[in-house]
Amino acid sequence: MDPIIEFRDFSFKYKSQTEPTLTDINLKIYPGEKVLIAGPSGSGKSTLAHCINALIPCSLPGEIQGSLTVDGMTPAAEGVFGMSKKVGTVLQDTDGQFIGLTVAEDIAFALENDAVSREDMYAKVDEAARLTDMTDYMKHSPNELSGGQKQRVSMAGVLVDDVDILLFDEPLANLDPATGKYTISLIDDIMKRRDVTVVIIEHRLEDVLYKDVDRIVVIGEGRIVADMTPDELLASDVLIREGIREPLYITALKHAGVEIKAEDRPQHVDTMNVLPYAEELRSWFKSTGRDKADVSDEKILEVKDLRFSYIEGESVLKGVSFDVRKGEMISLVGQNGAGKSTLSSIICGFIKPDSGSILLSGRDISPLSVSERGERIGLVMQSPGQMISKPMIREEVGLGLAVRGVPQAEIDSRVEETLKICGLYPYRNWPVGALSFGQKKRVTIASILVMKPEIMILDEPTAGQDYRRYTEIMEFLKRLNEDMGLTIIMITHDMHLMLEYTDRALVLTGGRLIADAPPSEVLTDKATSEAAYLKRTSLYDLAVRCGIEPPSEFVQRFIGYERGLRQKGAMP
């Protein structure tokens, strides 16, 4: 059989760059295959995808060497339009790629552009909607849909075109774990019903491997460093070397010191042959102590019976109460629309609750204005672009002080001190634009930190970040938490973040707090994790399959062990 996608000695250099982003790529993908392309941010995996759909070199110009053929065609010669008949691309931004005003129109978009008659169009749109389970939502507008539903619409929008190749560019980046899992099974279903080749670009390996993948291609610094079956890859040490997170159960097995063999099919925790490893894992469990977090008893934030509704009769918060103790690092989790952002908006004072109260260090904060609260409860938005408004780092970090009329000398010294804490001091005179994403994130954190808040709330601090950047950001926050005693609340979908960095998880669902417990308990309890659109951690399944009791204790010890390793600097 001839490959449907073939890269031969392929290299690509962006016009604006001096070094090639892709070097000597030799890759064959055969019809009907499902291939995962993994690699850290900046490795060139998205560039590879853009070569297949011809965005490179048509929209993003640069220099190509070697050859690439897609179903006998050369993308560069066919152009983006020409390739769109063959390759359907689903982008990671579920909002941005929703073009129509309703679901039906968005699905029809490609057909409209192809001037298909309306009769044919209706039939094809209906079929694509059926395929992606969106039939009941045809008249909905994008703001009435969840992220997962929008993504299904995007899939339907490319499936109407009878494409042969489906290309997913980080499809899981904006989804909660449960929705991500659903997306992966939907891709699997589509492959069963349509003859398509699927290429998934993603660094969230464990989530993609929820369903079988034929091959995983690992890209590192623009080269292919591995091209093997998932079983072979998981048995190797390629992932760690390349800074891609392994599935947690694999990490746990490796901590226990076992050597994983490909023939034991480590691709899925529930079908893997764990027999050869169970004994060693059990003895590791016994020998590992539990990591105890010491938290003071001093309550810094008390939220009491908070209720809120935007529209009368439709409550978003139905009596939420919890305490946060000084120096805690906690996560606030729950699906989209569960009320997480409403809750943080109320704490920051952007909106007023219908009833209930919030005490900060024992004092009611309802009389405080937004900006007065802002000095004591800092909010860091998800994307640095949503906060940065000054061209220079110093100015940006000092902005909050400057507008409060703090004398310039004091601003300078406090900005300098903060920049040192945040590891940005060497860049103090740089323009913000010259920084990497992780550094920009630190600038936004610094610009809040400079006001010496007692609590910092971060909205999805690591969304869309690969393992290395994730670790960089989270270790930085951990240091702020430990060294400065800063209380940190994180709104997140990321189960790893919850498990590894927070002592407690508040689980919000349908406007109610359904759990206030250690993450190791939340993520091993089926009912709670399902209600919050989380996924039970694979560590739980591993523990159960190896006969370790209780599984939540196993998870807890695993985390303690990992924290220990990180303190010793033995992990990235």
């Binding site: 691309t89 073009i99 001037a115 952007f350």
Partner: protein, 272 residues
Amino acid sequence: MTRMISYEARDTWIHRLTGFTKLMFFIIWCIVSALTFDTRVLVTMVAISAVIFAMSRTEWKQISAVFKLLMLFMTLNLFFIFVFAPYQGCEIYGTRTDILHLFGDVYLTKEQLFYEFNVLLKYLNIAPAIFVFLVTTDPSEFAASLNKAGVPYTFAYSFAIALRYIPDVQDDFTRIRNAQEARGIEMSSKASLPARIKNVAAIIFPLLFSTMDRIDVVSNAMELRGFGKKNKRTWYSYRRPGKSDAAVMIFAVLFAVAALVLTYYDGSRFLF
């Protein structure tokens, strides 16, 4: 968050008209209303507007805020007409009947009152027409019908796409403003005007950058799905004009002719 003056799907004969018909009707309505000062015509038009408004089943809450704003402008307009041209009415109608001595040599005249009454009628005429047009016209269908009427589709589509992303940009704006306000960048009336103008930059720049990112994604997404590939395109939301479209168009034209004949019959736009 409720968004004012946006399309809401309902099933009335006005909703079923094509966007193009409604636009044409609206334009004719405005022209006639601007040209005539014939009170009989204006009163008839207000009555028809009111009937159309009622038949469109538009709810008060959909338009209340904008309606209030419009009324504010109307009041200001009427007030300033009086301030700057207190005898405009007398000039138009060629007579002067004082009713009330205000101050100095300024008198309130019957003619001026009548003239301003006619201006008021024009407002009451056009306001419901705008509202009905906006709340009953599906933007995608409107774009489609514009395109069918000969407007290039890239231009027609920009209407639909703007409406698609306005709410997203509004949400971005709210989020950014909130976060900046928490940092102490005061945007409410507490800050002085120069400070507020300066502070706007702290919202505009992030908003601009996030919008540019959005445009990047959207234009890539559109290109990947073949937008602009062909010289023509079809429309999912297109509706063939029906009998009622023809009827509305004929009515609008006949009404306009009748109204203008009546208006200019005696050689003047004004009737007293």
